[in-house]
């Protein structure tokens, strides 16, 4: 089984249009993905109403698509209200933020309130990571230090240039997990040999990327020198300890 914890469902982002739910699930079938955590595309630019729109797109695919909310810390206390509504009323399973595209610092006081709320709601937060000046692994590490109870996932695991930072903070903070989508192969090899396998989760960025890239990400994990048990931990078991999938 494979659970993809990093995807974007249909929406508008510049000239990108994302993938409609039916086609999205068909790609999941073709690539062997059982469940996917789905995020917005457009909500990083205007969060208003984006959680509702995303949830309505997942209707009919409740056992396959598990929506994550996003909120806009620039909206002040509204961000906390939006998160509570997303989780408690709409049933969303986590929070995705993209501090670079959303243009906020992880030290932003309103964002810290959002993290506090995420801890209360017991949901994970997944971040885009690897892009200065707002989305660096050490900035997420700094947050992990402030909120040892928060479950923080580094999407992209620091990318090509900051993966060493991602490894460093994953080693240092118990509550940091890495999702090495788009990370260089040698970086992922280093991750599996230096940090506990229980801290690695699988993601593809489908929606921003396409079906071919899902194949490449699956292949990347298959090429790693891992036992079958370890591979299963990365493909689906670890994420189940962070996200509630109803089963």
């Amino acid at each position: 089984m494979i659970i993809d914890c990093h995807t974007h469902l249909f929406g508008r982002w510049l000239n990108l249009r994302g993938i409609r739910p039916r086609d999205f699930v068909r790609i999941m079938d073709e690539t062997g993905i059982e469940k996917a955590c789905v995020f917005t595309l457009e909500g990083f630019f205007d969060a208003r109403g984006s959680n509702e729109r995303l949830c309505s797109l997942t209707k009919g695919f409740e056992n396959r698509l598990f929506p994550f909310a996003t909120v806009d810390p620039h909206m002040g206390d509204q961000a906390v209200k939006d998160l509570r509504r997303a989780v408690l009323k709409l049933g969303m399973r986590g929070l995705k933020v993209h501090p670079w595209l959303q243009a906020f610092s992880l030290t932003n006081a309103y964002f810290l309130k959002v993290v506090e709320e995420a801890v209360r709601l017991d949901i994970p937060i997944i971040f885009h990571s690897g892009s200065p000046p707002y989305a660096c692994p050490t900035q997420i590490g700094n947050l992990a230090r402030k909120f040892p109870e928060a479950k923080l996932i580094l999407g992209e695991a620091g990318l090509k240039d900051l993966w060493l930072d991602a490894v460093a903070v994953a080693k240092k903070y118990r509550n940091i997990y890495l999702c090495p989508a788009a990370s260089p192969f040698a970086a992922v090899k280093e991750m599996i040999s230096t940090i506990p396998i229980g801290k690695l989760v699988f993601g593809t960025d489908l929606g921003f990327s396409r079906k071919e890239e899902v194949w490449l990400e699956i292949e990347k994990i298959r090429l790693l020198p891992l036992t079958e048990e370890e591979r299963e931990m990365i493909f689906y078991q670890n994420i189940r300890t962070l996200v509630k999938f109803d089963d």
């Binding site: 670079w100 690897g130 892009s131 200065p132 992209e156 990318l159 090509k160 240039d161 788009a182 260089p184 192969f185 040698a186 970086a187 990327s209 396409r210 071919e212 890239e213 194949w215 490449l216 292949e219 990347k220 090429l223």
Partner: protein, 238 residues
């Protein structure tokens, strides 16, 4: 199809391993440069072992030289030695060597490359020093030098790639790390002649980098990306 890889790193003492991987993946020839520590310091030792490998297998390996711009005139002297040893291109890595691409201290190295008719491979994608449009500035300053944008600006500079490529007829892009969907879009915008296969082996996976190019649409002539564009750039007929 015989593939030529424009971006491999030769680890010291690992020629056999590299050749075996090339054989396994169908790579006819590869451009090789020295390891990261030899790019940052100990340039001469790096150039020497790369040249040694090229001398052993001139049919399979093409060697690019390195020199830290911080060495000033000594850097150019090192490139002259590398030329005598049989190396045929320059590799620069601003993030590893600690300079930005508009810094005049790199100009003498590029002027040497121009004189020697060497292409210049530059690692890109790292702010604040190795961004595609910074490389475009350098390429415009030296229009007779052919530049290769290593790793295609991965990851955050995709917006800048088509402009950088269109601005500079002498600027080409190497395909490691960048997504196939991005490559397809940029081919439409900037022309297929700009695209050169590179794997960044052993740091990226040669298997996955080749598979990625094969995922590009049917209308895209992969032979040009895998082989012809680089041969033309290197001034080789075949």
């Amino acid at each position: 199809m015989k593939i030529i890889d424009s971006a491999c790193t030769l680890r010291r003492g690992r020629v056999g391993e590299l050749l075996a991987e090339m054989d396994r993946c169908g790579i006819e020839r590869a451009v090789i440069g020295p390891e990261r520590n030899f790019i940052a310091v100990e340039n001469r030792a790096g150039n020497r072992y790369v040249a040694g490998a090229v001398r052993r297998r001139p049919d399979r390996l093409i060697g690019f030289a390195v020199a830290s711009p911080w060495l000033g005139p000594k850097a150019v002297a090192e490139l002259e030695r590398a030329l005598d040893l049989g190396l045929t291109g320059l590799k620069i890595s601003p993030a590893v060597q600690g300079f930005i691409l508009t810094d005049p201290q790199v100009f003498p190295l590029i002027e040497f490359a121009e004189k020697a008719r060497w292409p210049v491979y530059c690692v890109t994608g790292t702010p604040i020093c190795a961004m595609p449009l910074q490389l475009a500035e350098l390429a415009e300053r030296y229009p007779r030098v052919k530049f290769i944008m290593g790793h295609g600006g991965f990851c955050d500079f995709w917006n800048d790639i088509p402009d950088a490529l269109r601005r500079c007829p002498n600027l080409f892009i190497e395909t490691s790390y960048i997504l196939p969907s991005q490559i397809s879009a940029w081919i439409r915008e900037a022309g297929i002649e700009k695209f050169i296969f590179g794997s960044d082996f052993p740091f990226s996976s040669l298997d996955l980098e080749i598979k990625k190019i094969n995922f590009l649409g049917e209308g895209i002539d992969k032979q040009r990306i895998f082989r012809h564009n680089l041969l033309r750039l290197l001034g080789k007929s075949r």
